[in-house]
């Protein structure tokens, strides 16, 4: 029994790495999503082109390949990353590309009359975006951001391929050391599921708080 608890300790260490990757990857994804998503609706052709190229490239190539590039190919260009850095970079850029389309769609979903009110009140383009459009668009983005975050959480398992000791990696270690398949794989299943639940719950809470007052019922 003490042996099992030791192995469980290993798995929990892996869970910490997975959480770390998810959090840092999400932050990078969020930054990229807003940069590229707002870039897609820019007035300037060059910014739109850059944003589109980024999005299409990272949606169109596999996360495995992106991770291998970040970890194995970038050193040839003189940029050596730790496994964690490479993992965060690949995950953040990949999920950020999907989330950028969410940002763009949400910005476009805000009615034309809101943009016109901004013009009539003489708000600048950026002021209108910052104080009127984005706060309303954010509410539209949230549910899909929740999906993206869960996707990112599950995608973190690819880092086990560059020998980063995340949850999946540790499960393999425990399996090969104990010969037991059920226990490690059941543990990681439950842990991934629990983490995904926490994300869902967090997003729903945020959504409720932000929607407060908007429909005149929940105040």
């Amino acid at each position: 029994m003490t042996q099992w608890s030791g192995y469980l300790g290993l798995i929990l260490q892996g869970a910490l790495v997975t959480i770390e990757l998810t959090l840092m990857g999400s932050v990078l994804a969020l930054i990229m999503a807003f940069l590229a998503g707002m870039g897609r609706v820019s007035r300037f052709f060059i910014i739109r082109a850059l944003a589109t190229t980024y999005i299409e490239f990272f949606r169109g190539t596999s996360i495995f390949v992106q991770l291998f590039w970040a970890y194995f190919v970038l050193p040839f260009a003189g940029l050596s990353l730790t496994p964690l850095q490479a993992g965060v970079l690949a995950l953040g850029l990949n999920v950020g590309a999907y989330a950028a389309e969410v940002v763009r769609g949400a910005i476009l979903s805000v009615g034309r009359e809101q943009y016109e009110a901004c013009t009539a009140l003489n708000l600048g383009r950026w002021q209108g975006m910052r104080y009127v459009i984005l706060p309303q668009a954010l509410l539209v983005m949230l549910p899909t951001f929740g999906n993206n975050a869960i996707e990112l959480l599950k995608a973190t398992s690819v880092v086990s391929l560059i020998s980063l000791a995340d949850l999946t990696f540790q499960a393999q270690v425990v399996r090969s050391q104990t010969g037991s398949t059920l226990m490690p794989f059941l543990s990681v299943l439950v842990i991934y599921f629990a983490l995904a639940l926490i994300i869902s719950w967090g997003i729903r809470t945020l959504e409720r708080r932000m929607a407060r007052g908007l429909d005149g019922v929940r105040v």
Binding site: A117, T119, L121, N122, L123, Q136, L139, D215, V219
Partner: protein, 261 residues
């Protein structure tokens, strides 16, 4: 005789193949209250939207308060206006929309104070003090903390009026501001506009289907049809003794539809 505050000169505007304004010209004197009436698609709303810079023009010139709206004079040449010029010109003009266009995520107070704080750099305390005066004027001082979704249509429209007034424009544009309201709420909005007309010397242009209100409110009525002004004159002339056949048939239809003139 003072100079006109708005001079529209041969403005044309098409949406695709549809010519909505066809060489339209008109002048508005400072402080004048103008009612724009006419069938839908006649261009009356479009000219308001053009004055608010919500549409681009295809040709012609507009002068507002002595300056070109869509052009800048540089070294004696007229160039297309840039965003900075437009922003400066917009300070002179405010607009109230048919569907209110309040910011749903901001309370009434923040709706009114947002633009003065951002565009004029007014401090929050001063902006809120002014907002309270305006909300009081439109009879909604007790709703300052309410969210737009908690208000009736008439209340929303009065907030929208206060919000536009907070920027102290010289010219106010009202685009069918009662058309989306339940009949019993129309009067509270019209009352605010009457008060505004009585208490300020703002120039006011209103597009409306409320012929009775247009008759009492306006100094001058313009009848639009197919992108042109077909007839204009004092309310009594237009409503009681229209000269043009098209004006007569339009008013006949409106009366048949149950509107009071």
């Amino acid at each position: 005789m003072p100079a006109p505050i708005i001079k529209v000169d041969a403005i044309s505007k098409s949406f695709g193949a549809f010519k909505v304004l066809d060489g339209l010209s008109m002048q508005v004197m400072p402080g004048e209250k103008l009612a724009l009436i006419g069938p839908s698609g006649s261009g009356k709303t479009t000219i308001l939207r053009i004055l608010m810079t919500l549409e681009k023009i295809d040709g012609g010139h507009i002068q507002v308060d002595g300056e070109q709206l869509y052009h800048m004079e540089r070294n004696g040449q007229l160039l297309p206006a840039d965003e900075r010029h437009l922003a400066r010109m917009r300070q002179k003009i405010g607009m109230v929309f048919q569907l209110f266009n309040l910011f749903p995520h901001k309370c009434v107070m923040d709706n009114v104070t947002l633009a003065p704080m951002l565009t004029k750099g007014i401090a929050r305390a001063a902006a809120e003090k002014r907002a309270m005066e305006l909300l009081d004027m439109v009879g909604l001082a007790d709703k300052a903390k309410a969210m737009p979704a908690q208000l009736s249509g008439g209340q929303k429209q009065r907030v929208a009026i206060a919000r536009a007034l907070a920027l102290s424009p010289k010219i106010m544009l009202f685009d069918e501001v009662t058309s989306a309201l339940d009949p019993e709420l129309v009067e509270e909005v019209l009352n605010v506009m009457r008060k505004l007309a009585a208490e300020t010397d703002m120039t006011m242009l209103l597009v409306t289907h409320e012929m009775g209100f247009a008759h009492d409110f306006a100094d001058r009525v313009l009848f639009f049809d197919r992108g042109r002004i077909v007839e204009e004159g004092k309310p009594d002339e237009i409503f009681r003794h229209p000269k043009q056949e098209r004006t007569q048939s339009f008013l006949k239809k409106i009366i048949a539809a149950g509107h009071r003139v």
